[in-house]
Structures are given as structure tokens and as C-alpha cells.
């Protein structure tokens, strides 16, 4: 077991911010990320040297002498005794840090609708990563649809990269967008950014107030209008990745992991920063990471006066970013996950389970046992993605009857059996509920 001072899970804007501050203050830090390069989804870029291509302000303060990287690796386990299992290209390792920062970020939470599993329908994030990482675009007519500020970003990046974007369909009405204006007026950088996106989309048919209803023979159908496409990029917003925080028993708010003013969770020595505490974008994530890193350094070593000043600055920047994030949240409310699904709509893509089949099982399932019956009889959420794609919809289907979502089980993500065998923890016996 590797004894380290700080383990940071996730090398996105939040994780890098935390690492910059812990290593600046001389704390031995291990930074784990599932990607080959640090930067997270936001700074995804063509391959190159690890830290190349990141803005200087993001890596400011980072001291590589105190940093160990674990790229292309997954934290597959978080044990209550603060042991963490890490699986990477070279096998498995266990770490027992004095502090951990959960900066696991978010994933796109899709909304199932008829035809969402058809060929040519991809997530908005997938389209964006294609541009950012591979410098490639989908060819033919590209339609971007769903809801949220992310759509505008993706559409504009696709246009800039040479894609033929024929339509952008946003569920929120134009009047809803007006509510963003006061917040934008106070944040000139965001306002210019938004303006730039809109300018790039000149000539593109942007329709607001139209919901994604179905895909039918190569057409997106939105409130009676048909939009033919070759590639449809759908996005309905993001959900925080909470597997590790749940394994550790961290409390949650309705947005994500509950943290105090210094990003500490309700479990001692466990900190959380970035999208995992609530979706808020790159500025908020990075500020939270900086605050967490500084607070950890202060707790473990004490920080000098100039660091204390920096902490105050980051707390202020965090507050500004948080207020903008909350405005965006109020404008782009996530639709009800099953609003557009019909009985024939596939919900669990891995196991090909339709909503109709789920309804039939729910009718015969014992009271209070629907979630388990869906798994036992249909393998809902038990395929390769482990529910990452369908969980939102299944949770909404079960509709509160079952109360809180089931505890995540180990391993988080996909791990080779050999990696488990290498670790000196009796993994099989670790399920607290005795069921594993």
C-alpha cells in the first residue's frame, strides 16, 4: 500500500487546481485520471506532452517534484478505511492517502426517446471530443439538439471545425434565455464568449422552445417539425459522478456531494471539488479545486500569508462562478428523464430493455421491490455501462418508491481480474452489506 499525503481523483480543471496548490506547498500528491493526458473533458486535446496545451493559469503553482501521475487509470475502489484501489495500464496499486480530493467530474446524462439508440445518434459530448481530440468532424448534415448551454458550445465548435450544422434545437424558449441577460451583463468574459458562439452560428437554423421527441427514419422530430440528419448530436445536460463519494458515505445535496466552505465533505479527510459537487462549469470547478488544495495544505502544514491571500481570492472567484452556474441552472432545467419515452423505447441499451418491458415487470413485482426486480428479471443497468447511461431514467421510473438509490458496488468502472488479484485487499469480502 502506497502511503501518500494527498490522492486526487480526476485531473480535470478541479483536480489540477487542487494538485497545483498541494504540490506548491510541498505535499506528496498522486493524481489519477482515466485519460492519457491531464485536463479532463474540458481540456481534451490532441495527444502530446502531458502538460502541454493547458493554459498557464490552470497549472500555475504546480510543482512536478511532488506530483506522481497515474494516467489512463481508474480508481476502482474506495474503502471506508481510506484505502483506494487504482488500476492502470501497468496493473493495480493501493493507496492510503492522508487526504483525498474527489474531482471525478460529470458525465452526460442522456434522456431516452424513440430512436435515441439509432445509428447516427451520438451525444453532444462525443461530437465535441471528436473535434477537440481527433480534429475530425462528422460529415453530412449535423443536427445538434437537446437543452443546455453546452449545445451552443458544441454547435459552434462543430461549425468552426468545418461541419455542416443544419439545425440547433434547444428545448428552452427564447424568453427563458432572456433571464440570463442580467447575469451575462455582469460577466463580460462570459458575454463575449456567448456572443462569439452565436456569431459562429450565423446562418444556422437555431430553434428555441422545441423539445426532442423522436428520431424516425433519419429525421429528428421536434414538436411537429422534421429535421433530416446524417448525425444527430443530443445533449440534455450532465450528472455528477458520485460512485466514489457514495462508497465513502459522503452526504449529498440535490446537486451533488455536500461540501463546506473549504470543499470538505461530511467525511473527514475527504474533499470534493468540481462538477461532482454540482454542475457548474470550468471556472467554478477550477476555483473549487484551488480552494480544496489550499485548505488541505493549510490543515496539514499551515500556509504562508500569500497563500492565505490566494485562498481568499479563489473563494471570491468561486462565489462569482457559483452564482452564474445557478442562473444557468434556473434557465435550463433538466427535462423529466422519461418525458419523451414510449413503451417501445429502449431504456437500458446494454441489455436492450424497453420501457414497456419494464412496466410489465413493475406490475408483477412485489411492492417496494421494483428496482431489484428490474435487475433480477431484466438485467436493467447491469450491462457493460453499469447503469451509467440509463440510471437516471430507471431511477425516475422507479419514482421514489424505493427511496434512495442503491449503494454502488465495487469495482467502480471496469477492472481486469488480474488487477484485483494483485491487490492485497480481500476484495470479495468487502461489500459492507455482506452481499458481495
Amino acid at each position: 500500500v502506497g502511503e501518500v499525503e494527498v490522492l486526487i481523483v480526476g485531473a480535470g480543471p478541479a483536480g489540477i487546481g487542487a494538485a497545483a496548490e498541494t504540490t506548491r506547498h510541498g505535499l506528496q500528491t498522486v493524481l489519477v485520471d482515466s485519460r492519457e493526458q491531464p485536463g479532463g473533458q474540458f481540456y481534451a486535446r490532441p495527444t502530446g506532452a502531458a502538460w502541454a496545451g493547458l493554459p498557464d493559469e490552470v497549472t500555475e503553482g504546480l510543482n512536478l517534484d511532488y506530483l506522481e501521475m497515474r494516467p489512463a487509470s481508474e480508481v476502482w475502489a474506495a474503502f471506508p478505511d481510506m484505502t483506494f484501489g487504482v488500476a492502470g495500464p501497468y496493473g493495480g496499486e493501493l493507496f492510503r492517502p492522508r487526504c483525498v480530493v474527489l474531482a471525478t467530474g460529470a458525465f452526460e446524462a442522456p434522456i431516452p426517446f424513440p430512436g435515441w439508440d439509432a445509428a447516427g445518434v451520438i451525444s453532444a459530448g462525443a461530437a465535441q471530443l471528436m473535434v477537440k481530440e481527433s480534429l475530425a468532424v462528422p460529415s453530412g448534415r449535423v443536427v445538434v439538439a437537446g437543452s443546455g448551454p453546452f449545445l451552443l458550445v458544441v454547435a459552434s465548435q462543430l461549425v468552426q471545425a468545418g461541419a455542416q450544422v443544419t439545425a440547433v434545437i434547444e428545448a428552452v424558449h427564447t424568453l427563458g434565455h432572456v433571464r440570463m441577460l442580467p447575469a451575462l451583463a455582469m460577466r463580460p468574459r462570459r458575454a463575449t464568449e456567448t456572443l462569439r458562439y452565436l456569431l459562429r452560428l450565423r446562418g444556422v437554423n437555431v430553434e428555441r422552445g422545441r423539445k426532442v421527441l423522436a428520431v424516425e427514419s433519419g429525421c429528428l422530430i421536434c414538436d411537429g417539425k422534421r429535421h433530416p440528419f446524417d448525425v444527430l448530436c443530443v445533449g440534455h445536460g450532465f450528472k455528477p459522478r458520485l460512485e466514489l463519494s457514495r462508497l465513502l458515505g459522503c452526504e449529498e445535496t440535490r446537486l451533488g456531494v455536500r461540501v463546506d466552505h473549504l470543499q470538505q465533505t461530511t467525511i473527514s479527510c475527504v474533499w470534493a471539488a468540481g462538477e461532482v459537487t454540482g454542475i457548474g462549469g470550468v471556472e467554478l470547478s477550477h476555483s473549487e479545486g484551488r480552494v480544496a488544495g489550499l485548505a488541505i495544505a493549510d490543515q496539514m502544514r499551515g500556509i504562508p500569508a500569500d497563500s492565505r491571500r490566494r485562498l481568499r481570492t479563489w473563494v471570491r472567484r468561486r462565489r462569482l462562478a457559483a452564482s452564474f452556474a445557478s442562473t444557468l441552472r434556473s434557465v435550463f432545467a433538466r427535462p423529466e428523464p422519461l418525458a419523451a419515452a414510449t413503451d417501445a423505447t429502449c431504456i437500458c441499451r446494454c441489455e436492450s430493455v424497453t420501457l414497456g418491458t419494464m412496466r410489465r415487470v413493475a406490475q408483477v413485482a412485489p411492492e417496494g421491490d421494483i428496482a431489484r426486480s428490474l435487475k433480477a428479471l431484466l438485467r436493467c443497468g447491469m450491462g457493460p455501462c453499469q447503469g451509467a447511461t440509463c440510471w437516471d431514467a430507471i431511477e425516475s421510473f422507479v419514482g421514489g418508491i424505493e427511496g434512495t438509490p442503491p449503494r454502488p458496488r465495487l469495482p467502480v468502472g471496469v477492472v481486469r481480474v488480474g488487477t484485483l488479484a494483485e491487490s492485497d485487499k480481500p476484495v470479495v469480502a468487502l461489500g459492507e452489506d455482506g452481499r458481495k
Binding site: S34, R35, E36, Q41, P46, T47, G48, F107, E108, P110, A119, G120, V121, I122, S123, G125, A126, A127, Q128, L129, M130, E133, S134, L135, A136, V137, P138, S139, G140, A161, G162, A163, D230, V231, R349, C350, G383, P384, C385, A388, T389, V414
Partner: protein, 82 residues
């Protein structure tokens, strides 16, 4: 029909897909390389979460969207997953 891809860079290397040599760009994702070569790869999340694009690379089952093209790697498209 799967997604057609247009690259901004010219192919600069070769990989082996199901035994056939296919040109690709160093560092692009395997998903892009497969789609650009016309393989009917399913793709959805693009970030290693949904596992729709599973392939086998040098004996390891991986998400094609998370794996980068390296010269000469061997990819099998029909063996991964459940």
C-alpha cells in the same frame, strides 16, 4: 449505416483492423479511425462511459473512443463485450 467522418489531418500511419491494414492519424481516437475507415462502429457517449464502442486492442477490451491510435496496433472489432 454508421457515422461518416471527415478528418482535418491526413493519415500518417497504419493500424491493423481485423487483419486488414488501414490508414489512420497518430493520436486520434480509435473510434474516429474506425469510423473514418468505414467500419460500422456504434458510438454514443464518446467518453468511455456507455461501452457501445467496445473493441479489442492487443488482447485488451477497450472503448474505442478512449484509445488513441498508435502505429501498427492490432484491433479486433467483433469480439469485445457481452
Amino acid at each position: 449505416v454508421s457515422i461518416q467522418i471527415r478528418r482535418q489531418r491526413a493519415p500518417d500511419t497504419t493500424i491493423v483492423i481485423d487483419g486488414a491494414n488501414v490508414s489512420a492519424v497518430q493520436g486520434e481516437t480509435l473510434a474516429v479511425a474506425l469510423l473514418a475507415a468505414g467500419y460500422p462502429l456504434g458510438l454514443f457517449c464518446g467518453m468511455g462511459v456507455c461501452f457501445v464502442c467496445q473493441v479489442v486492442v492487443e488482447g485488451r477490451t477497450v472503448c474505442a473512443c478512449m484509445e488513441r491510435v498508435r502505429s501498427g496496433i492490432h484491433v479486433e472489432t467483433n469480439r469485445g463485450g457481452s
